[in-house]
């Protein structure tokens, strides 16, 4: 399943997409360790699989929580994206 966490408002679209079918295979949960803002958690989803998710209290402010990892110039690979060895994570902005 592709889970899109985030929102769309007057200023744009801000979604982090997690391909949870890939999460099922994951053993090291690199995204949880890599995110400096501690936005990721491992949950048991509705189909009883262990998958990554964005914590509830970050979902409506990801534009701001992700801000420090997204400088305007010389943007490095995002820590969460680099930490996810299975390539399950993408950002929409």
């Amino acid at each position: 399943m592709k889970a899109n966490y985030g929102y769309m408002d007057g200023s744009g679209e801000f979604y982090i997409t997690i391909d949870t079918d890939l999460c099922i295979e994951c053993a090291d949960h690199g995204c949880v360790k890599a995110c400096p803002a501690g936005m990721f958690e491992i949950i048991v989803d509705d189909y009883d699989d262990e998958v990554a998710a964005i914590k509830e209290d970050h979902r409506k402010k990801i534009k701001y929580d992700c801000g420090p990892c997204k400088p305007v110039n010389d943007r490095p690979t995002l820590p969460c994206v680099a930490g996810c060895t299975l390539g399950a994570l993408t950002h929409s902005w």
Binding site: M1, K2, A3, N4, Y7, M8, D9, G10, E13, Y15, D46, Y47, K60, S92
Partner: protein, 295 residues
């Protein structure tokens, strides 16, 4: 209630049960409760078939809203809470349903409920709820493949429509039909924010626009707003709409026009999709539990 104090946003609450069915003759009674931000629904299934449901406004207290919705669904059925073999809570208040055996997200429940309501060919479900809007892509079994939700902004939600019904003093149930009764489609009002849209509508009324024309402009803005959400995920055929806004022909017709697609129609009430899905999950879970015990 006088015209001055009438609450135009207040939609009709109701309950229903199938008098032809007898709950004493069944193996499994499963139930689902969807406690949404604006409305709460309870659904009772007898061996997986729809038996009873209720649909009412969510009060300020989620546990009580869940209890009231379930009690109303059971009205005149002879059932009590003790007769329910398994109950699943869903929706915004799902963790506050005191009598539920498990909580499941409304995304999974809408996919499963939509699959039953519209049939296994449905692949895209748009749930236009009270305070959020969800696009769910699912497979032929009603399992979620992709979802996108917008719950940060009231634009494109039922609450936004209620605000407009109140502003224009038009009953919420008449908004859709009235909005279609215009000779020419007006340009949409602001689609990014309900507060801005409301100010814009007040200006349009002052400029001499009729209520119908303003409603048309708002329904058009709402449809446009939702289309951009749908396009982010990609619409796969067949397409269906659930939630309260599915009953607003003004939004549905404009949405279909923008998407160049016709949405599936169902004999079920579109507002019970989440609770129906929850009740179907409840049936599957109680059967799984029984199998485990038997082994």
């Amino acid at each position: 209630m006088t015209e001055k104090t009438k609450e135009f946003w207040r939609w009709k609450e109701y309950n229903w049960h199938d008098e032809a069915k007898d709950p004493k003759d069944v193996e499994t009674i499963s139930a689902g409760v969807d406690v949404g931000s604006v409305s709460s629904q309870a659904v009772i299934l007898l061996d997986g078939e729809l038996y009873a449901y209720s649909n009412m406004r969510t009060g300020s207290d989620s546990p009580n809203s869940a209890i009231n919705a379930m009690n109303w669904a059971m009205e005149n059925t002879g059932l009590t809470m003790d007769d329910l073999h398994y109950t699943v809570g869903t929706g915004y208040g799902r963790v506050n349903v005191p009598f539920s055996d498990r909580a499941i997200t409304e995304i999974a429940c809408h996919a499963r409920g939509g699959n039953t309501m519209y049939g296994p060919t449905v692949r895209t479900i748009l749930d236009m709820g009270g305070q959020d809007c969800k696009v769910i892509l699912c497979d032929e079994r009603g399992k979620v493949k992709n979802f996108l939700m917008n719950d940060k902004c009231a634009a494109g939600t039922g609450r936004g429509m209620e605000v407009f019904a109140d502003l224009l003093a038009v009953s919420i149930e008449e908004v859709g039909e009235l909005s279609l009764d215009v000779e020419e489609e007006p340009p949409p009002v602001s689609s990014t924010c309900v507060v801005f849209a409301k100010s814009e509508a007040s200006s349009l009324l002052r400029d001499g626009w009729s209520k119908k024309r303003v409603l048309a402009a708002y329904c058009s803005a709402m449809a446009h707003r939702v289309v951009s959400l749908l396009e982010r995920v990609g619409v796969e055929k067949d397409f269906a709409i659930t939630g309260g806004i599915a009953k607003n022909s003004g939004v549905v017709v404009r949405l279909e026009r923008e998407l160049k697609l016709t949405s599936l129609k169902s004999k079920y009430d579109t507002q019970i999709a989440g609770a129906l899905g929850a009740a179907l999950f409840a049936k599957a879970l109680v059967e799984k539990q029984r199998k485990k015990v038997a082994q």
